[in-house]
């Protein structure tokens, strides 16, 4: 190892209008190391990486690559400087093969064939070297998310990147896939590649990085050796105050059955059955967590219960059967049955982004007579209500006249939660409550959900964050391919067992070798893909 850093940023500053996104930031990343950048949403991580990848130009500051001062006016320059980037949202051509995607934009000569042949050879080499195995002739749309991500990494490596930037890479992966990714990163590190990992997950930082920088409000608050810090310390550096990382909750005291579901089935518009006959019960004072990799029917389950999709089967709410199709199965009817719904996608469903916060605080409950004044709406009363809700849920800024899109993800989520929780529902459906939400807000949101439970509500929680399922749920159901693979007690299970179930494997937990799991996982996802594609 040399003393020359692979990347060195000196005094980088960038402002968007009055907003200072990056303030005088300096980092040194040594070659052959993994450097984590952690921070809340809007802390300036993505801006910094965009500057490094040539999407933005810094107002001030200098970039050195391997000791050489480098100008990066665009992404082509970044690639020439040996920088590769794996985005959160993949930039792959869905109906191209892996090979075609890898050489796209890096073709040599006018003929495609020699490029393809060369790429095939390189790909095989890299697969062996880094455990980056992907079928070069598979179409992207048939690949699992984890494999698509590998293609992105391959693309970068094929362009001879020595520095790899990964933006929130595990957000879409199963625990097994995430684990595999980390092994790949580990291999890359031993080959001397430099990796920058952007994440908000403390566990990942602790697991894989050598050094870590914490960003808060555009500034770099600390850079430390991972071995010399703790998750608690990092969380405090990120948020600026002490944060409780575990959910503090008393044991559940389940009461009467609120929701009982039997043989529930949902078929989508393409005629594919998404929920394949599932059944469960939730009782008062209980949180049932549904774990699973995204796309295994959890969303459809939430939507049919929330009155957005129709389905078949038998669903009873406090003993009374509720309609699963027809006019009486819409969201309005569900709300009348005291079912509140915090949808998975708050921007598409839970909120009208163009509406102000006050308009959003009654969304779905807007036909309540208490918001009416003659033929008109009582806007003043709604604004007042919104002010109260925003205060109680610590929505920032507490300005009800601001459009929803002007709030950060966490504050948007709080607006939705405030609306749904303050209805005091008997049943709360809550999907991905902390997706894209800052650590500080996560703590608050978890507390609110637990508080509602303690008041006697039944709660159905869907999340792809296994940590969240583990820490919030009183019982866990794992969904795979539209079915419930099994129920587990969070106190008596672990991530590995759940991970197996999430991959559709019922085996002996603890004995499974991760490589075997991974192979089975690939097989299963290929099956699912084949079924979808048929």
């Amino acid at each position: 190892m040399t003393d020359t850093p692979a990347i060195e940023l000196k005094g980088i500053s960038k402002a968007f209008g009055p907003v200072q996104a990056n303030k005088d930031i300096s980092i040194r990343v040594m070659p052959g190391t993994i450097h984590g950048i952690i921070g809340e949403n809007g802390a300036g991580k993505s801006t910094l990486m965009s500057i490094l990848y040539g999407f933005y130009r810094a107002d001030r500051g200098e970039i050195f690559i391997s000791g050489k001062k480098t100008e990066i006016p665009d992404s082509q320059a970044a690639i020439r400087a040996g920088i590769g980037m794996v985005f959160q949202h993949f930039k792959l051509v869905e109906n191209f093969t892996v090979l075609e995607n890898v050489i796209l934009g890096a073709e040599e000569g006018r003929l495609l064939r020699p490029s393809l042949a060369k790429a095939r050879k390189t790909l095989r080499q890299m697969a062996e070297e880094y455990e980056l195995n992907v079928d070069p002739d598979a179409l992207i749309e048939d690949l699992s998310v984890g494999h698509q991500q590998r293609v992105e990494i391959l693309k970068a490596l094929y362009r001879q990147a020595d520095i790899l930037i990964l933006d929130e890479p595990t957000g879409v992966l199963t625990p097994a896939e995430a684990d595999h990714l980390f092994r790949i990163l580990d291999n890359l590190r031993s080959e001397g590649k430099t990796i920058i990992l952007i994440t908000h997950k403390l566990r990942e930082i602790m697991e894989i990085t050598d050094t870590v920088s914490v960003m808060r409000r555009g500034e770099m608050t600390a850079t430390v050796k991972t071995a010399e810090t703790s998750p608690e310390e990092l969380a405090e550096l990120m948020v600026g105050r002490k944060v409780l990382l575990r959910v503090d909750k008393k044991p559940a005291i389940p009461g009467e059955t609120v929701l009982s579901v039997e043989d529930l089935r949902v078929t989508d518009d393409d005629g594919v059955e998404r929920v394949k006959g599932i059944g469960f019960e939730i009782r008062r004072g209980e949180i049932l967590g549904i774990a699973g990799v995204a796309g295994n029917g959890q969303s459809e389950l939430m939507q049919v219960l929330g009155g957005i999709l129709s389905g078949t089967g038998r669903v009873r709410m406090l003993g009374e059967e509720i309609a699963l199709s027809g006019a009486r199965s819409d969201g309005r009817s569900r709300r009348r049955k005291s079912i509140a719904h915090v949808p998975e996608d708050r921007q598409r469903e839970g909120l009208i982004m163009e509406y102000t916060a006050w308009e959003n605080t009654i969304f779905g409950y807007h036909d309540d007579p208490k918001w009416r004044r003659g033929p008109l709406m009582n806007n003043a009363a709604i604004v007042e209500e919104a002010e109260g809700k925003m205060q109680r849920f610590d929505v920032r800024p507490p300005n009800p006249r601001l459009a929803a899109r002007n709030f950060s993800g966490g504050n948007q989520q709080k607006i939705v939660l405030a609306r749904e929780i303050e209805q005091n529902p008997d049943l709360l459906l809550v999907g991905q409550p902390t997706r894209g939400v800052d650590i500080g807000a996560i703590e608050f949101i978890h507390q609110e959900i637990v508080r509602l439970r303690d008041q006697g509500a039944a709660i159905l929680l869907v999340s792809v964050e296994l940590d969240e399922i583990m820490s919030l749920s009183d019982r866990i159901a794992v969904m795979f391919d539209g079915r419930i693979m099994g129920f587990r007690d969070p106190a008596q299970t672990d991530e590995r067992e759940l991970g197996l179930l999430m991959a559709g494997i019922e085996g002996e937990p603890g004995e499974a070798d991760w490589k075997a799991v991974d192979r089975q996982l690939e097989q299963k996802t290929a099956e699912v893909a084949a079924e979808k594609g048929h």
Binding site: P18, S333, H341, D345
Partner: protein, 364 residues
Amino acid sequence: MDRMPAWADVVLIPLISLLLAAILSALVILAIGENPVEAFALMWNGTVMKSSGWGYMLYYATNFIFTGLAVSVAFHARLFNIGGEGQATLGGLGVALACLYIPWPHWSLAIIGSCIGAAAFGAAWAFLPAILQAKRGSHIVITTIMFNFIAAALLNYLLVGVMKPVGSMDTATAKFPEPTHLPTFRDMFSTAETIMFRGAPANVTFFVALLACLAVWLLLWRTRLGYEIRAQGFSESGARYAGISPTWIIVVTMLISGGLAGMMAVNTTQGEAERLILNMTEGAGFIGIAVALMGRNHPFGVLLAALLFGFLYQGGAVLALWTSIPRELIVVIQALVILFTGALDNMVRIPLERVFMAMRKREA
């Protein structure tokens, strides 16, 4: 983060667009050998400087307010109602039936009847495209356009045969009876010694149009239905989550939109022609789209944009009367304004946003 202050969006962009359109129009006039300054002075003197000019301007504006509101209301539910022509045509039929076959004692009652007739017939004409969109997914742009043709053919059939007085060459119904005639601005504002708004067709319907602006504003921003219409327009998935029935919103929004378009006929048919004539919509249904675009789909904006288009129409007539600028070029000038204010919005917006960003940076 908003890129520029709201006042710039509402005031500056339309003004700059207008200015650009004016410059281009001036070049067009110059190219055919006329004097643009004189032409503009003529337009100005023939509209704003004369009460009869105002009378015409407000008459045209009344039409555009109704059709502009119709397009705006539909647009808030993200429905593009191109059928204003057809709905106004049917509205005319409603007005004619109300005026011809009901013996009204006084115009004040007649106008209520004809407004209801116009709105009901216009709404009915919008109902079928709406239900086809809601239930079958037939695109409302296509169906409303087709319904324009059907409406034209229907009116033609009625006015060439069924409703035309026997022996008349004119493709029109009989003249409406005296008590249904609406007071014009001349009747309302002239005093014994001075006659105002002489010969101009502006009539009491203008005030109905102003009321309609207010009603649409209340509907969209102060009622539950308006709340649901806008929610559906912003996010269909969001509306579904909230339990808002898309079918209901599509149908009811189109009924309101069609009704508004239909009410335009009260102005042209009862207010001006005092009989139902074949060409009564005069393209106002289409101009309504431009008016709504320029008015940013806000009733107040629609009012202002309608006044501007009223000015252009009356100004165009003055040009046609006193210059040798051909009719086609007057249409070109009007089209330039539509193009700049409606379609080429971003051409002005983006550079202007840059200017504001730069200014802000300097301050920061």
